[in-house]
């Protein structure tokens, strides 16, 4: 499926995905779909822009995703709305799946999710009876300790209603960052080579060993979220991380439980940072390698719907910079593994020949068509790529059948308690990107939203805490605290607060928990226990925030008085 097709679906199930804040141009398709009469079901604990225009808003309690999804499957089956022909012809494991969802009556799920049973029924009916139906999901699914199970649960819904393999159907993760899809495609993953070829598969390994001329390790590597543990707590000397080569990331801002991350970076023997701007991680790095930025180099990105697109040099880089690929190649050469490339196209040509799904996507073709969605297997200009995976219900498994996979719901790890009676979830700020080293340095975006950000909180809670709009408040968890501004909004339910993670002062990752999904290793950014406190002396707080901001900016190399006010 592709982004343009969204608007032609009859029904859209938008699950834990807030397009308006994370991908406005995808949200545009949802709005257009709505104008064309598309039914919208939105599952989100907040009234998002999509929830606002939806037919059914499943305003579930955070952390109850799987209970709700399983209950929808339960209704679809019990009410005879499943596509039995599709299930028989294209899937396996349905009977085992039925045993799991049996218990998830809408009434049972209603207790867990706080969504009325009747609303769950209506949503299930709406999804099952309006074909083609599409599912979009985002970080509201992925950033829980029970993430992969929910993705599979959503896939179950699409499978049991036969919503696979055609236009405007299926299930789509909308990847957060511009090139998450690309980094995965390129094998920047501990378990797979480029093109999703497993490192544990001997045939794949042999292919890459031959191409690269060296023997390759056969064990799955360390996921990024295990790094603090592997530095701080790993007992085995040879498994402990002693060197960390950080390339285009800022773990000291973006990762959960920042206190722990900082400790890990300081304990790690050798930290290399390769980036375009000074950032929080840079404060702990032993070596800093300056790279050219987007706009100063060439390459290919993969967008959320698997489309390869070119990025081009817009301006010449100023200063003593090198493109990222060149820095890596030079280090490798200096370490005795020569890498000699003249440009990105040479690298691209090497890699597409190693990945059957990408082989046909030459620079020439991407230039000509603007965007090529993989799989694109043939170099001839006729192969323009593939808009739909699993075309006509043919799946990428050995017997071309999809597998139903049912699991039971479990609650998030850290529930509200007496000391920390509210739940915190991290969300996105539309005008800022990631840790904001780019957008925070863009004049108008900085002027639209700046430190210390907002904590979204219900008017009822504000009343209880005697805090008002714009007031600085303290938000605390077991792991740390930060200061942010109060934003009362009726779009959130009492008991839950929401913060965005790019601020230095309002840095909510000081609070978040490094509890991971067992399969995807994604942290539970969407749920931890917290407390909001009123700050009596607002004048002091305003001053304090200003001082802190200036202080960090100075650490980042900005001379006092230069550039922006805080």
């Amino acid at each position: 499926m592709g982004i343009p097709e969204i608007e032609d679906a009859k029904c859209l199930l938008c699950f834990g995905y807030n397009g308006a804040d994370s991908h406005p141009i995808v949200a545009r398709r949802i709005v257009r779909g709505r104008q064309k009469g598309m039914k919208i079901i939105c599952a989100d604990p907040r009234v998002t822009e999509t929830a606002r225009i939806s037919d059914i808003h499943l305003q579930l309690k955070g952390g109850s995703n799987l209970a709700l999804v399983n209950a929808m499957a339960n209704v679809i089956w019990k009410e005879g709305l499943a596509d039995e022909k599709f299930i028989q012809e294209h899937t396996k494991g349905f009977d085992e799946f039925l045993k799991v969802i049996e218990n998830y009556t809408p009434e049972y799920a209603a207790e867990i999710s706080q969504v009325p049973a009747e609303t769950i029924r209506q949503a299930a009916r709406m999804y099952a009876t309006n074909k083609p139906a599409m599912i979009l999901y985002g970080m509201g699914v992925c950033q829980f300790s029970q993430a992969v199970d929910v993705v599979k649960g959503l896939a179950n819904l699409a499978l049991m209603t036969g919503n696979f393999g055609g236009p405007s159907m299926g299930i789509g993760p909308v990847r957060g960052q511009n090139n998450v899809q690309g980094a995965c495609d390129m094998g920047a993953l501990p378990n797979s080579y480029p093109g999703y070829q497993s490192v544990t598969d001997p045939a794949s390994r042999e292919k890459f060993e031959k191409a690269w001329g060296v023997p390759l390790p056969d064990k799955v590597g360390c996921p990024i979220t295990h790094v603090p543990y592997r530095i701080l707590q790993e007992k085995e000397e040879r498994k402990r991380i002693h060197a960390y080569y950080i390339f285009g990331e800022d773990p000291a801002q973006s990762d959960p439980d920042l206190a722990e991350v900082r400790e890990a970076l300081d304990k790690c023997d050798f930290v290399i940072m390769q980036d375009i701007y000074m950032n929080k991680t840079g404060l702990h790095a032993d070596v800093i390698l300056p790279a050219t930025a987007w706009g100063e180099n060439e390459g290919v990105y993969t967008c959320a719907d698997r489309g390869f697109q070119r990025v081009r040099k817009v301006v010449e880089p100023e200063g003593d910079l090198k493109p990222d690929w060149q820095i890596i190649a030079e280090i490798s050469t200096a370490m005795g593994y020569p890498m000699n490339y003249k440009n990105t196209e040479e690298i691209w040509n090497e890699l597409i020949d190693l990945c059957p799904s990408f082989t046909g996507a030459t620079y020439e073709k991407i230039e000509k068509y603007g965007s090529v969605q993989w799989p694109c297997r043939d170099k001839s200009m006729e192969d323009k790529g593939t808009p739909y995976l699993h075309k006509d219900g043919i799946f990428a498994t050995k017997d071309h059948k999809a597998l139903f996979y049912g699991t039971d719901w479990h609650p998030p790890l850290e529930m509200e308690n007496e000391e920390y009676p509210m739940s915190l979830s991290t969300v996105r700020e539309v005008g800022h990107y990631s840790v904001r080293t780019m957008t925070g340095n863009c004049r108008t975006l900085r002027n639209l939203e700046d430190e210390p950000g907002w904590v979204q909180i219900s008017p009822q809670d504000c009343q209880k805490l005697k805090i008002q709009k714009g007031e600085l408040v303290k938000v605390l968890s077991k792991r740390g605290y930060c200061i942010s501004r109060c934003l009362p909004t009726e779009r959130v339910k009492p008991g839950a607060v929401y913060m965005t993670y790019q601020w230095w002062i309002g840095s909510c990752n000081e609070l978040t928990i490094a509890h991971l999904d067992p399969i995807s290793n994604t942290p539970e950014y969407k749920y931890c226990a917290c407390r909001v406190e009123k700050i009596q002396d607002q004048e002091w707080a305003e001053r304090h925030v200003k001082e802190m901001y200036n202080d960090i900016r100075t650490q980042m190399g900005i001379q006092p008085g230069k550039g922006a006010r805080s």
Binding site: H23, A188, Y244, F247, V315, D324, Q559
Partner: protein, 144 residues
């Protein structure tokens, strides 16, 4: 003033919008950014696409653009010192070789980047970790 036009993909979010830049090549400066007719964006852009490019001229608002390689010569917490690329590259190569020799390849972790760097750099990064270092310890921020 020599004006040229360059079309490229927006660096923010996975929507993959196309932007058309007008550049003053002599001054090495962006003059204007307008939405281009890409497959996904059809001539529209959000605020980041429209107004998210002026960080390129290093306005020193939030943080400073990195311009030279730097090394903390006196170990952790010591100040960063600007060095030449040759020195930086050989320093990194030596340290990594030393650590690999002492603790084995699995004691080294590398990241890809889901952001500006692009696919080719990510490919080289994982190739470097796997072929040169000899570990599968490579990952990126998809989880984050």
């Amino acid at each position: 003033m020599a004006l040229k036009q360059v079309q490229t993909t927006c660096p923010y979010c996975g929507a993959g919008c196309q932007i058309m830049f007008t550049v003053d090549a002599d001054a090495n400066k962006i003059v204007e950014a307008v939405p281009a007719d890409g497959r996904t964006n059809e001539g529209t852009l959000c605020l980041k696409g429209h107004y998210g490019w002026d960080y390129l001229n290093d306005p020193q608002i939030l943080t400073k653009r990195l311009r030279k390689p730097m090394i903390r010569k006196g170990g952790k917490k010591s100040p960063l010192v600007e060095v030449s690329w040759d020195e930086a590259i050989s320093y990194v190569a030596e340290k990594l070789t030393e650590i690999k020799g002492k603790y084995g390849p699995d004691s080294i972790m590398g990241t890809g980047s889901a952001r500006g760097a692009g696919n080719e750099a990510n490919y080289l990064m994982q190739k470097f970790m796997r072929a040169c270092i000899g570990t599968n310890n490579v990952d990126h921020c998809a989880r984050i």
